[in-house]
Structures are given as C-alpha cells and as structure tokens.
C-alpha cells in the first residue's frame, strides 16, 4: 500500500501545514487507540491521560518528520509505546500494584486479606509477570518492540504488518523471530541473576 497517496496522507500534509482542523481530526480518530495502548501497559487512568497528551503533543511537533515510510498508525503506535517506556524509566516502576487503579480502601482490603499473605497469589504473580515482560521489552530495540507489540497486543497478522511497515513478509518474519530470540535471551540472563520464573 502506498502511504503517500492515501486519504490519511492528505490529512498528514494538512497537519504539516499547521491546519488545526486536520490535527483535531487525527486526535479524535486516534485518542481511544492511544489511550488503550497506554492503559494496557500502565493500567492507570491518570498516567494514561498524561502520557496520551504527551503523545499527541509529540505528534504535533514531529509530524514534519513523518516520511510516509510506514502507516500513520504504526508511527503513532511507536511514539505511544516509546512514551510509555520513557515514563517507566523515569518512574522506575517495579511493583505495578502501586500504579494500579485500586482505591485506598481496596488496596488496604487486599493487604489485610488471607490471600495477601500467600506470596504466590494469582494477583501478585500476574503483576510480577507483567513487570517482567515490560522489563524484557525494554531490553530490545524500539523497532523490535513495536513489531512484537503490533503483532501480539494489537493482533496484526504478518500480512498486515507487511503493509503497515512496507517491509516484505519474509523480512517481517525474520525480524519477529530475532526479536523473540532476544526476549528469550534477556529472560535467561535475568533468570541467571535473580532466579525468577523463566519466560
């Protein structure tokens, strides 16, 4: 698919010419997607709002650099994920329970419940695994991370990824394979150093 001649490309060119109506259209078109991506990673509405604003601000100032080599959605997705990881690096999140949306009352109830004394409760394990996979994804390149997330989180097929990124399907498969291998190796290094559950 030629990303240069699509309706979306025309919209991008209008934003590049500082057409505010075009920018508003992009925001309204993608705000839910961006918000959902961020919330899926961080699981916190307040943080999702802050980062989503940052994402669209970055889109506004960087749209001049968009070169139509990929689809607009791919480009926005990459910015969104990178902003999430920038946020995580700054905050140094280790225990996602502190970033969750639980009220103080719920959090206290969880701490005092019988299940809270069991170190291997489903909730703790799920949060630990989430923390782990986020940490591992941070170890691979931006491009690999975006590709893996588009494939597994967004559910795009290899054919769709090929159209979105303008790379042929074999290249996509090779890149995915290598990204997965890097994640496995990063998990093995982490296992050796901390003895955590292998991924």
């Amino acid at each position: 698919m030629d990303h240069r001649n699509s309706e979306e490309a025309a919209l991008v060119r209008r934003i590049q010419a500082r057409d505010e109506f075009a920018f508003r259209e992009i925001v309204e078109r993608y705000q839910s997607k961006v918000f959902s991506i961020i919330f899926g990673i961080l699981r916190n509405h307040n943080d999702a709002e802050d980062i989503a604003q940052q994402v669209f601000s970055k889109i506004y100032f960087s749209i001049g650099n968009f070169d139509f080599r990929s689809s607009l959605l791919t480009w926005i997705y990459k910015i969104t994920v990178n902003e999430c990881y920038d946020y995580l690096r700054k905050k140094r999140v280790r225990k996602l329970v502190y970033e969750s949306d639980f009220s103080e009352e719920d959090a206290l109830r969880m701490e005092n419940s019988d299940t809270a004394t069991d170190q291997h409760t489903p909730v703790d394990t799920a949060l630990a695994q989430r923390d782990l996979i986020l940490k591992l994804l941070e170890k691979i390149s931006e491009e690999d991370r975006t590709l893996i997330l588009l494939k597994e989180v967004e559910g795009h097929s290899v054919e769709e990824l090929s159209r979105m990124t303008r790379m042929n399907e074999n290249t996509i498969k090779v890149k995915l394979f290598r990204a997965r291998q890097k994640l496995l190796k990063a998990a093995q290094r982490l296992n050796r150093s901390s003895g955590q559950t292998q991924v």
Partner: protein, 153 residues
C-alpha cells in the same frame, strides 16, 4: 531453532495450524526446539496480557487539554526570545541607538568648565545671577571672578 520449526513458527504462535507435518514431527523428535517453542508460547501469552481488555476513552475535553500542552511548549521564555537571531539583531540595534542618545544627552547637558575664554565673562555673570543661597564667600568669589574676566578683556 531448526528450519522446519522456524519456517512455520509465526503461523503456529498466531494460533494457526502448521501447513505441513514437518513442524509437529520435528517437535516430537527435537527436545531443544520443543523447549524453545514452549518458551515462546509463554512469552506470547505474557505480551498479550498487555492488551487492554476493552477500548479506553479519555475524559471529555481531551483535545482542549492537548492544545494546552502544546501551547505550554510553544510559549517562549525570555531567554528563548533573546536567542532568536532576527529579534536579537533588532534588540542590539535598539540598544546601540539608545546608548547613543543617552551619551548625546549627557554630553549636551555637561556643566561648563572654567577655562579662560571670551565667553568666560558671560558664564561667570550667569553663575552670579543664579538663585543660590547667598553667602559671603560666594559673593566674594563672584566679585573676584568678575574682576578677573574684566582684566582679560
């Protein structure tokens, strides 16, 4: 990972059925590949857990807040204003012009020096006519100055 598995890995991880029997036959006979595929399936499961269960909407007024964020980035500080080349030139020219005007004003209003000249008589007489508190010493000085200028003439 061996080629028979690698070729159809993405289809397999996407939940599809491998196109040939080679994939499953190889996994049945190769423990190394079987272990690696198992690890990759677990990896996929964890990554997919990053998907939000349903689409999440921002609170109303999101676009206005985005514009606000953009405006905060655009608003210049005093230092960024001074760094602007065209504005910096204008400020430099204006400063030079102001310095010139101030200097000219200072020079033009600088008090007369008491040097011997034809105009000294006029100057002394002007001084003597100033409404200054009259003291004996000042009166004497005025008289002496008048006499001095009279002699020169």
């Amino acid at each position: 990972m061996h080629q028979p598995v690698r070729e159809e890995l993405e289809d397999y991880l996407a939940g599809g059925t491998p196109r040939s029997n080679r994939f499953s036959q190889h996994l049945n006979t190769c423990a190394e590949c079987a272990a690696e595929v198992g690890a990759l399936r677990e990896q996929v499961r964890l990554v997919r857990a990053l998907r939000a269960e349903e689409e999440v909407e921002p609170a109303p007024g999101f676009y206005a807040r985005v514009l606000n964020r953009i405006e905060q980035r655009v608003q210049p500080s005093i230092w960024s204003v001074l760094r602007d080349p065209s504005l910096g030139r204008r400020i430099a020219v204006a400063s030079a012009a102001l310095a010139f005007v101030v200097s000219a004003y200072i020079v033009s209003t600088e008090p007369f020096r008491m040097t011997p000249s034809a105009s000294s008589t006029v100057a002394i007489q002007q001084l003597s006519r100033q409404d200054t508190p009259a003291t004996v010493a000042q009166d004497r000085d005025v008289v002496l100055a008048s006499l001095a200028s009279f002699r020169e003439n």
